[in-house]
């Protein structure tokens, strides 16, 4: 007999479950050893809570009414619920707070895309450690997690969420034009980006500078090249990135970090450093994160914070691919 399940969901059978269990244990072990305590939050939140995340993917795709007519939502990520939890429960205790999670979240999928509607994420949130110091610790935990998962060739992209917002402000591009430009950036549509920048009336030289900036990615030399492109906003972003990068260098943790000035995550709450994780064995992003200094404030507690989340199923796939490569 055939009993279908919704597209984008799946059953897991014992063989795979055993591998996943091992992976989860390895990740949680890394988090715990570094002082991150595991928390769980409900899969169902008030819609109002999830809406604090704004941005395209933080907005919950699955909303419904309870018996009392309250609007509820299935959580679309873990960072927003944890921000709520921290603001509610840790207001009177001395930061920093180190929390980790391994939980399912829910997002809408495109038909026939292989995307998961229900997916597991493993990650940490470091709350109360500002700036480069906090970011460096988060990157170090992320590297340890990737090692524990056996992803020796994974690379971490490090960018800055405020760079283009500030750059466009400096250039006096506002409103509709600004949003359209940021949208092309988020979609990585360089042709559209160039077109929209040209229409913003900032002069051909500046258009070229902005487009060139988005293509800068690599080691420390990238910062020098970016500096050459000039501007106050660029200078500020570079100094933020180099502070983090130099912090990583001092801790011997910069080797697998790629500086990337084209990075722009579509979650609306990031500020400052942003992270993305890649592995050469698979064509999609394994996870990401960054600083979200303003998010917990939306819940009434003003604490700087940073974190990352890894998509568990994708990490598992990459793990199998890397093992396959090693064996062949």
């Amino acid at each position: 007999m055939i009993h279908p399940i919704p597209a984008g969901t799946r059953d897991v059978l014992p063989d795979e479950m055993r591998e996943l269990r091992k992976l989860k244990n390895a990740l949680l072990d890394v988090f715990e050893r570094r002082g991150y305590g595991e928390v769980a939050t409900p899969a169902i939140e008030y819609e109002e809570t999830m809406a604090q995340g704004e941005g395209r993917t933080a907005r919950s795709s699955y909303r419904f009414f309870d018996e009392g007519g309250e609007l509820l939502a299935l959580r679309s990520d873990m960072t927003v619920p944890i921000a709520r939890l921290v603001a509610g429960r840790y207001a009177d205790s001395e930061p920093p707070h180190r929390l980790c999670y391994l939980a399912s979240a829910y997002r809408a999928v495109r038909p026939q895309s292989g995307q998961l509607r229900e997916f597991e994420q493993a990650g940490v949130e470091l709350i109360g450690v500002p700036g480069a110091e906090g970011t460096v610790e988060v990157v170090e935990v992320l590297e340890a997690a990737l090692d524990a998962a056996g992803l020796g060739s994974a690379v971490i992209g490090l960018g800055d969420a405020d760079l283009y917002r500030q750059l466009l402000e400096e250039l006096g591009v506002e409103g509709e034009a600004r949003n359209a430009i940021l949208a092309s950036l988020a979609a990585h549509d360089l042709v559209g980006l160039e077109e929209r920048l040209s229409r913003a009336g900032i002069g051909a030289a500046r258009v070229e500078t902005c487009v060139a900036l988005t293509q800068l990615r690599g080691g420390k030399e990238v910062l020098e090249r970016a500096r050459g492109l000039g501007g106050e906003a660029v200078e500020r972003a570079i100094s933020r990135i180099s502070e983090t990068y130099e912090g990583l260098e001092r801790r011997g943790a910069a080797e697998r970090v790629q500086i990337d000035l084209g990075l722009l995550r579509d979650l609306g709450y990031y500020s400052g450093a942003i992270l993305e994780v890649y592995d050469p064995a698979v064509g999609y992003v394994l996870g990401g994160g960054g600083r979200y200094d303003g998010l917990i404030k939306r819940f009434g507690l003003d604490l700087p914070a940073a974190g990352f989340g890894l998509y568990l199923q994708r990490v598992h796939t990459a793990q199998l691919e890397e093992q396959g490569r090693g064996g062949s």
Binding site: R110, S113, V155, G157, A187, H188, D189, L190, V191, G192, Q215, R217, G218, Q258, D260, E276, Y278, D279, P280, V282, G283, Y284, V285
Partner: protein, 213 residues
């Protein structure tokens, strides 16, 4: 690490694409030979030939690091996550709304019924266009020879890609509105763009030069 895998579109863009690849220093002689192979190793890269509309699929999944396809394909599959790196300028054509020459059935449907029946191979582009211009339409998706639809009464008009306009003319159709102009574009996989940055930047720069952009 092996060389880049490049998805090359068969069909209307094939010839011009091979020309710019040649211009970028890649040897495409084998592809021109009418071989039935789909994979070619040449000049340190792997060229895979696919349908233009499949290019975003291969590139999004990372089965190809970069690919070349038309903007029409990218607009129709705008939910595919690929990086659009460069406008190559060739393969220029227009996405248009067309209807039977000298016949006012299209306008009549809009006036009398408040909606038009439109046949197209590009339902998402058409849907966005009519929505953004505040008109209601009934879209009929067809897979081939869309010019036939208004001739036999399947639709009031069509949304289709037009290069020279000859096909429209031969079927006694005329352009009523121009929706967007489309050219060939280079797209890249999101992860390859980061992890193989130097190779992809070099290829893009060479293709930019070869295409005279």
């Amino acid at each position: 690490m092996s060389g880049l895998k490049i998805a090359v579109p068969r069909g209307a863009l094939f010839g011009d694409t091979l020309d710019v690849l040649d211009g970028a220093g890649l040897d495409t002689a084998e592809l021109r030979g009418g071989s039935r192979s789909l994979i070619f190793e040449t000049s340190g890269v792997t060229l895979v030939t696919v349908r233009p509309s499949d290019v975003p699929t291969y590139v999004e999944a990372g089965a190809a690091d970069v690919g070349i396809t038309g903007k029409d394909v990218l607009l129709e599959q705008s939910d595919r996550v690929v990086y659009e790196l460069l406008d190559l300028g060739y393969g220029r054509c227009r996405m248009v709304l067309a209807a039977r020459t000298g016949n006012d059935r299209l306008a009549e449907a809009q006036r009398r019924l408040g909606r038009m029946r439109i046949a197209t191979k590009y339902p998402r582009i058409a849907e966005r266009y009519f929505e953004s211009t505040g008109r209601q339409v009934e879209l009929v998706e067809v897979k081939g020879s869309v010019e036939l639809a208004p001739l036999v009464g399947l639709s009031d008009g069509i949304v289709d890609l037009v290069a020279t306009g000859r096909t429209l003319e031969e079927n006694e159709l005329e352009v009523r509105e121009e929706i967007v102009e489309c050219t060939a574009r280079i797209v890249a996989n999101r992860v390859s763009h980061k992890l193989r940055a130097a190779e992809i930047d070099e290829l893009t720069a060479k293709l930019r030069e070869a295409s005279g952009r």
